[in-house]
């Protein structure tokens, strides 16, 4: 691996959130991911960086792409993986998360990748177990690798982050993707405006350094990137907004709205998409989208994160 980041030495053994990281550390992860991205273009897509290490994938909450992405990333680094999903574990028998993780750790796991429905679960575990903890999404709190891959994709497409203006649209209140993106983007010098109705965009989110707009139309012309969050169907009927139709009319991204955007605007979506609700197929599959590149880049980011925490001591 070649290193171009000068004197910087990675020290962290956990990645629980972007909140704890400096801009320099985030940049270092992105730079490391660039190197790993190249691995995926080789005919033999495997390096021995984590040979002999065990990565425990603990998914206490459903996930498709994040889980597969981490699993593939671990395997490309030559690590062995064990997988636990809550349905097949003793979680349903009433064991605490901490006990479950301590038990799996006793089998000799070096790195845990944890997806959990409770905000702060990875933070709690990082203080109580000696293995590395990587947060693969905790409650409504953070999803650091998703934000890293989003930022990585923006950096690759637009050349840098500083001075960019990024809109994040949708259910900000319940979105860990939004939080990690706000934190990461702000640390790298981008401006962020979050867009949605007040019931989905808490006013206090401005304390994280972003702006709020309740009108998507107002921000279209001024942003370089639009990150459309999935509107979660389980929120329907919770009284947070009147109907899918009204949401789609006010906050959905369609060709008519695309016409008012900057020509080179980058359209992102963390998936899974509800086509026709927050984004139409014309936009999702159109020339400005980078949705599948996000997924591809996710692999490089996760390889970088797995590799870096395995080197960390703190």
């Amino acid at each position: 691996m070649t290193r171009t980041a000068g004197e910087f030495v990675w020290k962290r053994k956990h990645l629980v959130g972007l909140d704890e990281l400096s801009g320099e550390e985030i940049t270092y992860i992105l730079d490391t991911a660039e190197s790993f991205r190249e691995v995926s273009t080789r005919s033999i897509k495997k390096v021995p960086a984590l040979r002999g290490k065990v990565v425990g994938l603990l998914f206490f909450e459903d996930s498709t792409r994040t889980r597969m992405s981490f699993e593939l990333a671990a395997s490309r680094l030559s690590a062995d993986t064990v997988l636990l999903t809550s349905k097949g574990s003793s979680v349903t028998k009433g064991e605490t998360t901490l006990d479950t993780v301590r038990n799996v750790e006793a089998m000799g796991v070096d790195i845990f990748v944890i997806r959990h429905g409770q905000s702060g679960a990875p933070h709690m575990l990082a203080q109580k177990v000696s293995a590395s903890i990587i947060n693969a999404g905790d409650g409504s709190h953070e999803h650091p690798t998703q934000a890293l891959l989003d930022i990585f994709t923006i950096r690759r497409r637009l050349g840098g982050l500083s001075g960019l203006r990024v809109a994040i649209v949708g259910d900000i209140a319940h979105s860990r993707v939004a939080r990690s993106n706000i934190i990461g983007l702000r640390k790298l010098g981008a401006e962020v405006v979050v867009v949605g109705p007040p019931t989905l965009v808490p006013a206090a989110i401005t304390a994280m350094g972003c702006e709020i707009s309740h009108s998507l139309d107002d921000v279209l012309a001024e942003v370089d990137v639009i990150n459309m969050l999935r509107i979660q169907f389980e929120r329907f009927g919770s009284g947070l907004f009147p109907s899918v139709r009204e949401y789609s009319r006010l906050y959905g991204l369609n060709t008519e709205r695309m016409a008012r955007c900057r020509k080179d605007v980058l359209i992102m979506h963390p998936g899974p998409m509800n086509r026709g609700v927050e984004i139409t197929s014309e936009v999702a599959d159109g020339p400005n989208n980078c949705i599948l590149q996000q997924v591809t880049n996710g692999l490089a980011i996760r390889m970088a994160v797995l590799y870096l925490v395995s080197q960390g001591t703190e």
Partner: protein, 423 residues
């Protein structure tokens, strides 16, 4: 001959307007003299440099017995109380089964007497089984020794039930204590605000406390009953109480050490030791609460000592139970929040831990060093510096958010009914 003679202490007795270097003499379990006490005694305590005051009263303690004896018992709560300088504690009724009948009240009194440490005075439930539907037998419980009523842990949600409860309690001239929290707005894990938003935790809005308080103040005004606001946490609640008092509503209120010292910023660690109900609020709320204590809007101080097992506090933040313990460090915490900040002096502080809470639970002027009063006396070393170590607590639980704090001021002797219970 006196049984105990406490000499040369700074005797602070707010009920009698006393603050002077003096002696306190105790005989047959009663105060026989506060002033210059002549005569001999079986036991002489040198209180030079110490404060000698009426026994401290905490009207908000969860003893967890019956039901959760693994967390605390009436005996361990009593031991914790006397270690913290408290001679009287009130036992909240959200036990399992709840203290909603005469027999349950007698049980608490009996277990308190068996422990033989602090006086343990039971609070009865306002409604049967704390379900908020039917009034409990307040009259019978009062005769059995209950000193006030509360459904603490929950507020009485139904307006009509609370209205009737206040009318009924008004007849008995007993205080109804409310945990103000509008049910519709509950369900979160910490204070609503910027910290909760950043952490992705569901918030508990101050509005939930304010709304129930506002409703209750209307009902208390209409009924003329005595109404007590438990663990006030929000700035606007303080203002509502202030305004109601100005109108002559018979409302009293308490503040806890944690709401006077900690903010929701502490929750950023995701450590459930900071999870409490009502939640830790903002710095502005802390400031308003301190101001409310200073100007008398908040009558008294109470710990809301709420023991929880270590296993339960090792869960994820949103899943862990609410509650924190502070009986054994409360005096120093109050001093830190209110005396070190020059809001109160020691006589003010002691009034809020003796005379004022006594007025709420008994209304008879106890909590004094008057001639003939029960000899409940606390001796405090106001200068003693010490470090909080929860593993040294008499309490059975360890969920103390002040672990490792360096504090100033410590009770050095706790005398209940003329007997030294600590050291």
């Amino acid at each position: 001959m006196n049984d105990i003679l406490i000499q040369n202490g700074r005797v602070i007795d707010p009920a009698n307007g006393r603050d002077e270097i003096a002696d306190v003499a105790i005989a047959k379990g009663k105060i026989v003299k506060a002033g210059t006490a002549a005569g001999k005694a079986t036991e002489v305590i040198d209180a030079k440099g110490k404060i000698v005051c009426p026994g401290l009263i905490d009207i908000h303690v969860h003893c967890r017995e019956p039901g959760h004896e693994e967390e605390e018992t009436i005996a361990t709560a009593s031991a914790s109380a006397v270690a913290g300088g408290f001679t009287t504690i009130c036992a909240m009724p959200n036990t399992h089964p709840p203290q909603d009948n005469e027999t349950a009240i007698q049980y608490v009194l009996q277990r308190g007497a068996e422990a033989g440490l602090a006086r343990v005075l039971p609070i009865g439930c306002i409604t049967k089984a704390r379900e908020g539907a039917e009034l409990s037998e307040m009259g019978l419980m009062l005769s059995a020794g209950a000193v006030a009523f509360s459904d603490d842990g929950d507020g009485v949600a139904s307006t009509s039930v609370m209205y009737r409860a206040l009318q009924y309690a008004g007849m008995l001239d007993v205080a109804l204590m409310q945990h103000c929290q509008n049910g519709d707005l509950s369900g979160g894990a910490m204070n609503s605000g910027a910290v909760a938003v950043r952490l992705g935790l569901r918030g508990i809005a101050s509005a939930g406390e304010e709304l129930m308080l506002q409703r209750d103040l209307v009902l208390a005004e209409r009924t003329g009953a005595r109404y007590h606001v438990q663990h006030v946490s929000a700035a606007w609640s303080v203002e509502l109480i202030r305004q109601a008092k100005a109108r002559g509503v018979r409302v009293t209120a308490e503040a806890t050490p944690h709401h006077l010292l900690l903010t929701d910023a502490a929750c950023a660690s995701f450590d459930p030791v900071y999870k409490v109900n009502p939640p830790l609020r903002s710095a502005a709320d802390v400031e308003a609460l301190r101001a409310g204590v200073a100007d008398g809007t908040i009558n008294c101080l109470a710990t809301d000592h709420a023991p929880q097992s270590a296993e339960e506090k090792e869960l994820e933040f949103a899943l862990a139970p609410f509650g924190m313990i502070s009986l054994e460090c409360a005096v120093a915490l109050y001093a830190k929040a209110l005396i070190d900040t020059h809001l109160l002096d020691w006589p003010d502080l002691i009034a809020k831990m003796t005379l004022n809470p006594a007025a709420i639970i008994r209304g008879d002027g106890s909590g004094s060093l008057s001639f003939g009063a029960d000899a409940d006396v606390t001796i405090i070393d106001p200068k003693k510096r010490w470090t909080v170590r929860a593993d040294k607590f008499q309490s059975k639980s360890r969920n103390c958010p002040y672990e490792g704090w360096k504090l100033k001021g410590k009770p050095v002797a706790t005398i209940v009914g003329g007997e030294v219970k600590k050291p």
